[in-house]
């Protein structure tokens, strides 16, 4: 388990335990955290699980695979700390990770 903190757009903070091996997207869906739509179900085909990663965590994340940056072009208000949460797999190293969920996904 790793603690992942999701800051939602309504200024609420949700800290939940996410099982290792799941993605940050799945952690949000399983815990009913609003704002992550994940329309395509983790296929890196829709950009509706877009999150902003807290700066100090950016370098600790698994690198972007081919295609993630292309999908982020489609995301709502992408920034340089944007990631698709379906592409971030939770591990011990990510215990304490914090992400912000954008105001909307599309």
């Amino acid at each position: 388990m790793a603690k992942i903190t999701y800051h939602t757009h309504d200024n609420k903070t949700h800290t939940v335990d996410v099982q290792k091996g799941l993605t940050v997207m799945e952690g949000a869906i399983q815990n009913d955290i609003p704002g992550i739509d994940a329309d395509c179900g983790g296929g890196m085909a829709c950009a509706t699980c877009h999150v902003y990663v807290k700066q100090e965590w950016l370098d600790k994340l698994p690198a972007k695979e081919d295609g993630e940056e292309d999908m982020l072009d489609m995301a709502f208000e992408p920034k340089n700390n944007s990631r698709l949460s379906c592409q971030i797999t939770v591990s011990d190293d990510l215990d304490g990770l914090e992400v912000n969920i954008p105001s909307k996904q599309g």
Partner: protein, 338 residues
């Protein structure tokens, strides 16, 4: 007015197979889809990605699955209405009257919503003022390129649509291409061409910029774009085009009085009817305890919903359960009767 037994909303695998099941039991149907082709997410999101969990099909791509389903429903001559989004729904005695975005009208006994995660629509700019100009001097698709002749056009995006239009329009217009990063997702040849045109001064390329604001009276006059590092540039522009791919939205279905929870429509598991009699929902768009978002579940749901439609389409008849292996009627409908 198109009069048919059942209107299917969504031409993804679930909707296509439901059309097959309706055909087998002798009901007619027509299909509406907002995309320009059948196949739904299978075609739009992952045409080349293999699927491994279609029963008895060890491996096939989204495109192959779609083509096989289209082949399977061929005997029923199902009429497709593509590039149409269902807008209005009215109850007319025992039938439903439906109207699409393009003004196509249907008179049907039942409706099957097989809309997946919603209809595919262009993703829009996040800048609020853009709405004011949408359809007048700001577009997400191009219907008539002649309006751009000798004008200044600012195109946003880094995919094939953005690149192709930037190249094409640079022939007769002044084109600015603005993209949020240095890399592009479009074809390499197009990227090279755009860079060449930029070097020759036939097109202005702005990378690491995004839309900041647009302004103008009736039409767009200027826009501001913002660099990653914060610098803001003002550029004059007559038209703005945004190509950010498609997003799925439930749209007008939300206003039909259906029980909706988390972008899905609640149904019973006996025949996948919603809380509104005569309206069914199948595939990814429906929810019930234990729902699995698998194509095979959508096939099952479609088979039962088709039978659920029967009593609305033929209230005076009783549906007979038959197998396609032995039923003369089914074989006749399939055109395979020996």
């Amino acid at each position: 007015m198109n009069k048919t037994d059942v209107l299917i909303i969504g031409a993804g695998p679930t909707g296509l197979f439901c059309a097959h099941q309706l055909g087998i039991i002798g009901l007619s149907c027509e299909i509406v889809d907002n995309l320009d082709k059948a196949g739904g997410q299978c075609i739009e999101l992952y045409p080349d990605k293999p699927i491994y969990d279609i029963p008895a099909v060890p491996e096939c791509t989204g495109e192959e699955l779609t083509n096989n389903l289209l082949k399977q429903i061929k005997p029923f001559n199902v009429k497709f209405h593509l590039n149409e989004r269902v807008e209005e729904l009215k109850k007319n005695q025992n039938r439903w009257h439906v109207k699409t975005s393009g003004g196509v009208e249907f008179d049907v006994a039942a409706i099957v919503i097989a809309g997946g995660v919603g209809s595919f629509e262009p993703r829009k700019f996040s800048v609020k003022e853009c709405e004011k100009f949408e359809g007048k001097s700001l577009f997400y698709s191009i219907k008539d390129k002649s309006i751009f002749k000798d004008k200044t056009i600012s195109i946003f995006g880094g995919g094939d649509s953005a690149l192709d239009w930037a190249i094409e329009l640079s022939n007769n217009s002044k084109v600015n291409l603005i993209h949020r990063r240095d890399g592009f997702s479009g074809a390499e040849a197009s990227v090279q061409k755009v860079k060449e045109l930029n070097d020759q001064g036939k097109l202005n390329l702005y990378t690491k910029y995004q839309m900041d604001s647009v302004s103008g009276e009736q039409q767009i006059e200027t826009l501001k774009i913002k660099h990653d590092e914060g610098e803001i540039k003002e550029i004059k522009s007559d038209y703005v085009l945004g190509f950010f791919g498609l997003i799925m939205q439930l749209g007008p279905i939300l206003d039909w009085g259906l029980n909706i929870d988390k972008k899905t429509v609640q149904v019973n598991t006996e025949n996948f009817e919603t809380n509104v009699n005569g309206i069914f929902a199948i595939g990814d768009i429906c929810s019930y305890p234990g729902k699995l978002k698998l194509i095979l579940s959508g096939f099952h749901e479609g088979a039962l919903a088709a039978r659920g439609c029967f009593k609305y389409a033929k209230p005076d008849e009783r549906l007979r359960f038959e197998f396609t292996t032995t039923s003369k009627a089914a074989q006749e409908r399939l055109g395979v009767k020996k």
